[in-house]
Symmetry: C2
Subunit: 126 residues, 2 copies
């Protein structure tokens, strides 16, 4: 079996060429993680989501949502109102990923007292 | 209570100024996630870790390890041999974070068949 076919069967994020690494980068990247966690609270319109994900630019949010939509994690619903109402929400896959990301976020938030202590020690010893 | 003091008490990754967001970026960023997951397999010397995290540059791995060491997630042990042997391993905090990251990696790898289907549909409809 050629190596490329093998890679298609077993996803391995450690392998540079595996598409799963790109998906991991989309979901765990700086903005992907926050967009998915926000959408786990419910559907959002673009501007409301932008306010929730404090500090993201319009362009970066559009790119983030497009990548997540392409990966099948976020869906974009356009309602035929005047003006059209566009809402973003999670797919079933997206919900599973978002749940795990929220666990990660909560874990990191819980580690912060220890992290801050470590940072102070590290910075003090230089 | 001034706002900064509040922020110190409650970590909130959605807030642009919260230090927990920076830590989340270190652990969930492209290279942080792979370095932590690799180190959960055991201690690594620099060059062995670089081979494990396929595609990372020497400079980027050094930066990644330094940020994770500062956050108290990775420890750097220098053994007084000739030449000195430098090993990287996880702290207790780092182990907790790495365990959650591996759950995320396994979840994303498991979603890949659905993700690939979604990508093919998305690309076909443009």
């Amino acid at each position: 079996m050629p190596e490329e076919a093998m890679e298609d069967l077993v996803a391995d994020v450690f392998a540079r060429a595996c598409t799963s690494r790109l998906v991991l980068e989309n979901v765990a990247g700086k903005w992907g993680i926050l967009a998915l966690a926000a959408l786990s609270e419910g559907a959002y319109r673009f501007n409301a989501l932008r306010r929730r994900v404090d500090g993201i630019s319009e362009k970066m949010l559009a790119q983030t949502l497009q990548a997540l939509e392409r990966d099948g994690l976020v869906k974009r619903d356009v309602q035929a109102t005047i003006p059209p109402r566009v809402e973003y929400s999670l797919t079933t896959s997206g919900q599973r990923v978002a749940t795990k990301l929220i666990e990660l976020i909560e874990l990191v938030e819980g580690e912060m007292p220890e992290v801050r202590k470590a940072q102070a020690e590290y910075d003090g010893s230089r």
